[in-house]
């Protein structure tokens, strides 16, 4: 069933037990992103110092895809260098716009490859990208601060 390519077990796990879903107060940048077409909202804090992502934490409401994707993204970014982190975001964006033609590089994206199937559901790509775009935005703001 096509549905199974969207809702992999890993995703449902992240959805039920999201990582880093508790805003930390020692952030270097905070952003609030919404997905206006479905009403999903997310607040995301990053702490980036000396070019290293020290912490990512978030809170928000949204569908399983957006919640799981944000959970995966946050987990992936923590501890990476800013440059590395932004490259991972780009890699994930590429995967999302692949219309089902890519499987994703598990070495780079880890659990993120479970979201490869989303690229076949155009209306859900925004859900999957919400947390990643929020992170990217926050990371850029943090470097400016």
């Amino acid at each position: 069933m096509e549905l199974d390519s969207l809702y992999q077990e890993v995703i449902l796990d992240h959805y039920k037990h999201p990582l880093n879903k508790k805003l930390q107060s020692d952030f270097t940048a905070q952003v609030h992103h919404v997905n206006p077409s479905c009403g999903d909202e997310i607040t995301l804090n990053v702490n980036i110092s000396a070019g290293i992502v020290k912490s990512v934490s978030w809170d928000g409401v949204g569908c399983s895809i957006s919640q799981a994707s944000t959970s995966i993204a946050s987990d992936l970014m923590i501890g990476k260098s800013l440059d590395e982190a932004l490259k991972i975001v780009d890699s994930f964006s590429d995967l999302m716009s692949s219309k089902g033609t890519m499987v994703g590089n598990e070495e780079i994206l880890e659990d993120g490859v479970a979201l490869a199937g989303v690229s076949k559901f155009p209306a859900r790509i925004k859900c999957a990208l919400l947390g990643w775009m929020a992170f990217k935005d926050a990371a850029i703001q943090s470097s400016k601060n």
């Binding site: 549905l3 969207l6 809702y7 077409s37 479905c38 009403g39 409401v61 559901f121 859900c127």
Partner: protein, 417 residues
Amino acid sequence: MKPMFSPAEIRKDFPIFSKVMRGGNRLVYLDSGATSQKPFQVLDAERNFYEQNNAAVHRGAHLLAEEASIAYEGARQVLADFLNAELDEVIFTKSATESINAIAYSFGNTAPGSRFALKPGDRIVVSELEHHANLIPWQQLAKRTGTELVWFSIDAEGRLDQSNLNELINASTKVVAITHQSNVLGTIIPLDEIVKRAHSVGAVVVLDACQSAPHFAIDVKALDIDFLAFSGHKALGPTGVGILWGRSEYLNEMEPFLTGGSMIESVTMTEAKWAPSPKRFEAGVPNMAQAVGFAAAISYLNNLGMDNVAKHEKDLTAYALNKFKQLDKVKLIGPKDNVDRGSVISFTIEGIHPHDVGQVLDQYGVAVRTGHHCAWPLMRKLGLVGTTRASFYVYNDEADVDALVDSVLQAQKYFKV
């Protein structure tokens, strides 16, 4: 009264129901609240216009221009009859959204002294049920003119609270803009007291009929309202066409909204005078083929009989409400009884986000809408991030409701809730 129609027979007129959906399923289309499907009669009418009569209306002496004008004005007559309105009161727009903006901008354009010229201290009244299309244009008008925007509240079931009617609609009120039926909850607003009160203080009533005009008979004279808007695409008609209806004495008193060709009486480099309604509000070469297609859709509905349409939807809603009440961990959002309520069922499923519900339903060919339904303030008021909404129309039947219920059970199974 005409004999009741059969949805199964009707579906044969709609080519899209031959389509094979995800998982090899048939199309169970429960998203007519967003846009309706189109019968071939509408598609044929549009095509026939292009193949036989296509020319710019009102602008040429040649045969095609004559025929195009006759077709276009004939479409206007069909719409006027549908609303029990006068011919010069019916204006073709691109959508209800444009219609409502047209009213709001026209008010804003009108010179001081006219009843439509709003000023600081004046008041515009809306409700918490509004679709963004009947909210933001008034927010903006209020901002441009320094007018106050106030609103009716709703109760827990999503019924309009009219207890403070006389305070809300007071002597400062110039406009009451309200939806006839909520696109999210199905609530139908009883208009009598609102219209009476509005007129008693000299305010005009603008009715958003997007979710009512396609579903039950509307008589603008009996409702005694002043302006009305609805879209063709939600009434079996083409995309790209809507209706603005207004009392002609008001329309001819108002400044136009869009300006350009065909809406003028005379033009110099520095000044223009306006043609009377409806031309005054139809600048440019109009959406002729869409108007013709819209009229074909209305004729199709007339043929079924609007009372039959209403009864069919009411019965189907009763069936659905009853089925939904038996579902576990599924919450109906909106009126639970079948009084003053249209054929829209909004619900939430415990533990599954609406977007995910919609996705599972899609796997079974069931097309619904999920999210805030362009009524975000209403969602906030209800404390929800969104709902799943099924909306019914003439081609739906009990088998569609059964398919919906089955797919809801599948969603619960899939997400193990």
